[in-house]
């Protein structure tokens, strides 16, 4: 058991717990970035350096920055944090939390049941990943491209500010 893994894992879990419990959205986002960075270390220890880099660039970099910009654009400040505080009552989170703990317990139990022979960590070089991507997974890659395209178009379409304030579906609904 690699010490780096243990440290990174602990940081990841701790940071994630903070994400879950934090009222202020900016803080939560920063904790999430920390968590993602920690996960990228974990990935590195599991012999996937390319993935670790991607994690940092795309997740911690692009996606998180997008969300932060978004939050800043909506100008969600202390008020939201107050809301969050008001919403997070034990009454709300205890039961779902319990169920999730049960789920976690079951997951862990199942994982620990695994009596696979020890094989250790095997490094999978990026080249092999690239070969796989543009070999057997070519169609999936193409589809992912289309997915991203759809994401862009969708984001553009949905994010556009209409002069009409209502979407046409919602408009009907409100009138009735």
């Amino acid at each position: 058991m690699d010490i780096a893994f243990i440290v990174a894992a602990l940081i990841a879990v701790a940071a994630t717990v903070r994400v879950v419990t934090c009222y202020n959205i900016m803080h939560a986002l920063l904790y999430l970035v920390v968590s993602l960075l920690a996960v990228s270390v974990v990935l590195y220890t599991y012999g996937a350096p390319f993935m670790a880099v991607l994690e940092i660039i795309i997740y911690a970099g692009a996606i998180m920055v997008l969300i932060i910009f978004f939050v800043m654009m909506l100008n969600l400040g202390l008020e939201t944090a107050e809301h969050e505080k008001a919403w997070l009552r034990p009454r709300i989170w205890i039961v779902p939390g319990l169920f999730c703990i049960v789920l976690l317990g079951e997951l862990l139990y199942l994982i620990l049941q695994n009596k696979q022979p020890a094989a250790g960590i095997q490094v999978v070089p990026p080249k092999q990943v690239g070969m796989a991507l543009f070999g057997p997974y070519l169609i999936a890659v193409e589809l992912t491209g289309i997915l991203l395209m759809a994401g862009i178009v969708g984001a553009y379409h949905l994010g556009r500010q209409h002069k009409k304030t209502l979407h046409r579906f919602l408009e009907n609904n409100l009138n009735t």
Binding site: P96, F99, C100, V102, L103, E106, L107, Y109, L110, Q113
Partner: protein, 631 residues
């Protein structure tokens, strides 16, 4: 061709009147209504003469084939034999007189034409009944009579009480009809035919005396007869049937309807002879009915109800005679009864009209001077009903029954005693009514003296009530047997178990004494010392008992509680149809399920995720559980 004409003419009259009585004048209605029955009576006389001339050979006529399917056939077949001739003559002649009387009685009614249409239909149906050659056609007449009674009892349809009475008459007799229908099924099952002559010929071949099957059939036929003839236990409809106009009552009581049961039993006498049990049942029913109805008649206040109960009582005599095997005696009593009961009813009708539709006897009185004509004919009728010796027809017929109820093979002392007691009761109630109506002080003013058209039929019937008895005289008084001799081809002579002239004298004497005693009692009761009677009758237990008797032994209440109320209750409870609840319930259950499921679609995202989590937990739980059980 002729026999078919007898019922066909009244039917034709009924059809014509029904279709166009609104368009023809009153006199035309009178001519058609009375004329059809008169014509029918004439044809009946001709056919009777033909039967007599042919040595009492029956005249049979096949009009058309009614139903013919493999294994079963019934035609519109008429048969005039000696028994039918008696009935047909009484029905047409008495019916004609009643029709004539009704032209006076109903003169001011707005539905004059409808009345005669129904009356003609009534006579026609009854004629079909007594002339039918097979039981199915008889059944047609049987039910037709029921229909007409319904139409006529409820003739004044605007009063709901009349409709209830009419409905009751129809339904109660229908109960008896159902028994009779089942008897028909049984007869058909065993003999493969419903032709009366073949049934009568084959029954003794098929069944030994006392066979349970023949007893069952006889009892079921008796059930039908009991319903139509208003005998125990289905007698309750008849007193209520007084709701109809008085000529209708006369027709129902004298000529048609109630005598149908007597006819049926007489007609099917072979079956009854094969079953001593059924004969005993008939006699017992007759005896009990005649007493119970006599007692009830004693305490009535409505003049027509007295007569109604007296009819039940007299028919009880006929049943008693039938039960004793004294077939011709029963028919003889039917004939004389038809005359004097028609007379009494129409006399009562005359009184009622004279007093402006007042039927309560206690509001009458002193009519002797006002209505002398009615007084005399009524007296003759009462005398005949009470069986005053020698001069009345009722004496000869009733005495014969009382004597034969002791002397005949099927007779018994108890029957004789019942007959005797009945004679006493008859005297009492008849003359109680007579005294109440014609003596004492006048309580209601006479406003209308009945005209000739109403009185002439009364005179004719008065004569008939007197002389009709001479066609059959007992051994002790000349021994004339014209009537029973006439019926001999159809109805066997009575088997005498006791043949003692002395005993017969004693019996006659006793009955005469009892009848006169009854009159005397009535005299004391009504005229001599009314106050003493009032005191006696107002004693505590008496009041209740009288009420009970007046209500016909509370049989109505009994049936109401036992049958009518539960039926009405059940059907009202089930008005919305419980079975439908199963289907609508299923539909509602489905809708409830739908609502329940729709509730989970709350639109709140976290609920949906919660569902996913629960699903995951469940799946993993199953997985772990299986892991453990497998390994």
């Amino acid at each position: 061709m002729l026999p078919a004409l007898i019922p066909a003419i009244p039917f034709l009259g009924a059809c014509i009147l029904m279709l166009c009585w609104k368009r023809v004048s009153r006199s035309a209605v009178t001519v058609i209504g009375c004329g059809s029955v008169a014509l029918s009576a004439i044809v009946a006389l001709i056919v009777a003469a033909a039967v007599a001339a042919a040595g009492k050979e029956p005249v049979v006529q096949h009009v058309w084939q009614w139903i013919q399917v493999p294994g079963f056939a019934a035609g519109i077949d008429f048969r005039m034999d000696v028994l039918s001739v008696v009935f047909v003559l009484v029905i047409t002649i008495v019916g004609f007189l009643i029709h004539v009387y009704a032209t006076g009685y109903m003169h001011d009614d707005e539905d004059y034409g409808r009345f005669f249409a129904c009356m003609n239909l009534f006579v026609g149906s009854m004629l079909v009944l007594v002339m039918a050659d097979n039981l199915l056609l008889l059944y047609l007449g049987w039910e037709g009579v029921g229909l007409c009674s319904y139409l006529l009892i409820g003739f004044w349809y605007k009063d709901p009480a009349n409709n209830y009475a009419a409905r009751k008459a129809f339904i109660v007799t229908r109960v008896g009809d159902t028994a009779m229908a089942i008897a028909l099924f049984l007869l058909f099952e065993h003999m493969g035919t419903l032709n009366i002559q073949r049934l009568l010929q084959e029954a003794p071949v098929l069944w030994a005396k006392g066979d349970p099957m023949v007893t069952l059939i006889a009892l079921l036929l008796l059930g039908g007869a009991v319903g139509k003839s208003a005998q125990l236990p289905l007698q309750t409809w008849l007193p209520d049937a007084m709701a109809g106009p008085t000529p209708v009552s006369a027709l129902i009581h004298a000529a048609t309807m109630v005598t149908a049961g007597v006819y049926l039993i007489a007609r099917m006498h072979v079956v009854f002879e094969l079953s001593p049990a059924a004969q005993t049942a008939t006699a017992v029913i007759g005896a009990v009915t005649l007493l119970m109805a006599g007692v009830s008649a004693l305490v009535q206040t409505d003049i027509k109800r007295v007569l109604a109960y007296s009819t039940i009582s007299q028919i009880g005599y006929m049943f008693l005679a039938l039960g004793c095997g004294a077939w011709s005696a029963a028919i003889f009593h039917f004939v004389t009864h038809a005359f004097f009961k028609a007379l009494l009813f129409m006399g009562a009708g005359a009184v009622i009209v004279a007093l402006h539709h007042e039927q309560d006897m206690f509001k009458m009185g002193g009519l002797k001077k006002m209505l002398p004509g009615v007084f005399w004919v009524f007296l003759i009728g009462c005398a005949s009903l009470t069986a005053i010796p020698f001069i009345t027809a009722g004496f000869y017929s009733k005495d014969q029954i009382i004597w034969l109820s002791l002397a005949a093979a099927g007779g018994h002392k108890a029957y004789w005693l019942a007959g005797m007691l009945g004679a006493l009761l008859t005297g009492m109630y008849t003359f109680r009514m007579f005294f109440l109506v014609f003596y004492g002080e006048a309580k209601t003013k006479v406003h209308h003296i009945p005209g000739a058209v109403m009185m002439v039929p009364l005179y004719i019937l008065a004569v008939l009530s007197t002389v009709a008895g001479f066609i059959e005289l007992p051994h002790t008084l000349g021994h004339v047997t014209l009537f029973s001799h006439w019926l001999l081809p159809v109805l066997p002579a009575v088997q005498l178990a006791v043949d003692s002239m002395a005993l017969e004298w004693i019996s006659q004497l006793a009955s005469v004494v009892l009848a006169l005693g009854g009159i005397w009692l009535a005299y004391v009761w009504v005229i001599k010392r009314p106050q003493g009677m009032v005191d006696f009758l107002s004693m505590p237990g008496q009041v209740w008992l009288q009420g009970c008797w007046r209500r016909g032994w509370d049989m109505d209440a009994l049936y109401d509680a036992l049958i009518v109320q539960p039926f009405v209750y059940l059907s009202n409870v089930n008005r919305r149809d419980l079975i439908d609840k199963i289907y609508t319930g299923t539909a509602q259950l489905m809708e409830a399920c739908h609502n329940l499921m729709a509730r989970t679609q709350s639109g709140i995202l976290r609920w949906y995720i919660m569902g996913v989590v629960l699903g995951a937990v469940a799946i993993l739980s199953v997985l772990i559980w299986r892991l453990h059980t497998v390994s």
